[in-house]
């Protein structure tokens, strides 16, 4: 007996874009991702450390004159990412009013790279301002100045889960009636402290990271981000269907070995979306390439969704974009739904024999109605988001 197909429930994702080591536009990023390219390259950035990093290519656009005092790499990425969304943002502001369009964006680094350079100069440069160069809120102020949105604005910063948690905030703001649209996403830049900090913890690979591979030995750091416009209603191919957020309550930097925290986040997201595990067609895994993360997350996916669902980690292509990782991965989840094709999981072969999941180093044709994207962070912060085809 066939089950009646229920309509997809969720908020409209009416526009989105991203930039990372794979490219500076959505088209470049997706063409490179599906073409099997990696944006990771060996770098002298944090010498004498040898590691592979994923830097956003090319010169970044300058800030408009009125925002020049906010000039940082983070702010320039905000210019790069907000420009393609401006037509839909302006339409949303015209439809709902500027104060009904919120901004909730993720970042773990904020303007830390600007402070690294300013501190190293000995005396703070004249153009350095703690509030405009370093503080998280500068990102919201820049996005307000660029887009005209004037609704509630804040940065979510829970390390590497940040950019999935902004979807939870957006859902809450929309369902409570505080706003009618929210600009969400996340942006991080390469910093000395993050690269060297991951090295100090013994979880930075000297080569491009190899999520799920038997010889994986750490992650690689990337930069960039993505922005998405979420509206109460409207034309969209893909909807935000569910969010699950919880904590491991286990350890500052290691996941619960059985993956129980990641599993709980996925189950909360399924319950929030009103879906059965069998309805999930694809997983964009957190998949950092560290020995402990990948095995714990694989156990969680196995426990919640089983071994048949196709799993991809895109970090072998982008690097781990930390506070912005889940933002670019939301873009990849949406692309999988729109294209009916999964990106390759670069570097996954030879696969860890303990990880019995459907992972492939090749792109695969695969129709997706619902995709879940995981983000797992320092402090055991877990967040899973489910995206669904509107029709």
């Amino acid at each position: 007996m066939g089950r009646a197909v229920k309509a997809t429930q969720g908020y409209a994702i009416s526009a989105y874009t991203g930039a990372c080591a794979l490219g500076a536009t959505r088209e470049q990023v997706l063409a490179a991702l599906y073409g099997g390219q990696s944006g990771l390259a060996l770098s002298q950035f944090a010498e004498p450390l040898q590691t592979a990093l994923g830097a956003v290519p090319g010169p970044l656009p300058e800030l408009p004159a009125k925002l020049r005092s906010f000039d940082t790499r983070l702010a320039r990425l905000a210019v790069l990412l907000s420009e393609p969304l401006q037509p839909q943002l302006s339409a949303a502001i015209a439809r709902y009013g500027a104060s009904r369009v919120g901004i909730v964006v993720a970042s773990s680094t904020g303007g830390l790279s600007a402070s690294e350079q300013a501190f190293g100069a000995g005396t703070l440069p004249a153009d350095y301002s703690f509030e405009r160069s370093h503080a998280f809120y500068a990102l919201v102020e820049v996005l307000r100045g660029l887009t005209g949105a004037r609704g509630p604005g804040y940065v979510v910063s829970t390390a590497c889960s940040s950019a999935n948690k902004v979807f939870g905030s957006a859902q809450r703001l929309l369902s409570s009636g505080v706003v009618d649209a929210v600009l969400v996403g996340g942006i991080d830049t390469l910093c000395q402290i993050t690269v060297r900090g991951f090295h100090s913890l013994g979880i930075l690979s000297a080569r491009p990271c190899r999520p799920f591979a038997s010889d994986r030995d750490g992650t690689s750091i990337g930069e960039g981000g993505a922005l998405l416009l979420i509206e109460r209603a409207g034309e969209a191919a893909v909807l935000l269907c569910g969010v699950g957020e919880c904590s491991d309550a286990h350890h500052m930097t290691q996941p619960a070995p059985d993956g129980s925290g990641a599993a709980a986040a996925m189950r909360f997201a399924l319950a929030d979306a009103g879906l059965d595990p069998s309805e999930i067609d694809h997983v964009n895994a957190h998949g950092t390439g560290t020995p402990l993360n990948d095995i714990a997350e694989a156990r969680a996916i196995d426990a919640v969704l089983g071994r048949g669902v196709p799993v991809v980690s895109t970090k072998g292509a982008t690097g781990h974009m930390l506070g912005a990782a889940a933002a670019i991965e939301a873009l990849f989840a949406i692309a999988a739904i729109e294209r009916g094709q999964l990106p390759p999981s670069l570097g996954c072969a030879p696969r860890d024999p303990e990880i019995q999941l459907a992972i492939s180093a090749e792109p695969r044709a695969h129709a997706c109605r619902y995709v879940i994207s995981n983000a797992l962070a320092f402090g055991g912060s877990n967040a899973s988001v489910i995206f669904g085809a509107a029709s």
Binding site: E116, G202, S247
Partner: protein
């Protein structure tokens, strides 16, 4: 937005008060805790004790404009010292969600928690995030906001004092110390740069303690209307 919630417990700490006891953290964690994490652990303990609830059972929103700046300052110094070797303990404790994470680990609390930043609007945005959480998940939630004293290497000339405040909010019980309602403010109320970015949280604690109807400016175009709640003669009977 005019969501109205009850405040079941409050906690506050400011410079000049006794060193934060941070009793919710185990001794080993407490000894290493940053000023920010210590202050937050202290006010969370105060607020949950006052509310008569177990901190291990509550979802939470943590707000801080600038986060773990003492720890970040130490990492900047290590970065520019010979060898540029960073302390892994400092690095992992530099994330904005350090206090939330350490409390979740110490209390074995796996419930929802988030950590946000919004400059001088941090208190307003933390309360909005929390009240919107309650609207979808009726019950109680903890909100804790704090900022450390400025670090002179990046904030020369800034001279505000550290402070922290916490609230146990409730949207089902119908009683508490006060009822608060978040409302748009007519004026934006430009925050003084000489003020701790989370100063509004302590102002809200004081307004609730004073048991008078009043408005507290939260910045960012928001204010909190505080209405004291008449305490029943035998409040225990109403639990």
């Amino acid at each position: 937005m005019s969501a109205s919630v009850y405040v079941r417990g409050i906690g506050g700490w400011e410079a000049g008060a006794a060193k934060p006891a941070a009793a919710l953290l185990p001794a080993r964690m407490r000894g290493r805790a940053s000023p920010l994490t210590s202050m937050l652990a202290e006010v969370v303990e105060q607020a949950t004790r006052a509310a008569g609830v177990d901190a291990a059972t509550l979802p939470s929103v943590f707000g801080s404009a600038y986060g773990e700046m003492n720890t970040t300052g130490a990492l900047l110094a290590q970065l520019w010292a010979a060898g540029a070797q960073l302390s892994p303990a400092k690095f992992q404790a530099s994330v904005h969600n350090t206090a939330a994470a350490q409390l979740s680990i110490a209390l074995h609390n796996s419930r929802f928690t988030t950590s946000i930043a919004a400059g001088h609007d941090t208190v307003a945005m933390s309360l909005i995030e929390a009240t919107c959480w309650l609207a979808r998940n009726p019950g109680q939630i903890l909100v804790a906001c704090a900022d450390e004293a400025p670090i002179q290497v990046l904030q020369p000339g800034a001279a505000y004092s550290p402070l922290a405040a916490a609230f146990v909010l409730d949207n089902v019980s119908g009683h508490g110390l006060a009822r608060i309602e978040l409302m748009p403010a007519d004026t934006c109320g430009e925050a003084g740069r000489a003020e701790n970015p989370c100063a509004a949280a302590l102002a809200l604690v004081r307004a609730i303690t004073a048991s008078q109807s009043t408005d507290v400016a939260l910045h960012g175009g928001w204010r909190a209307r505080v209405e004291p709640v008449a305490q029943p003669a035998n409040s225990g009977a109403h639990e």
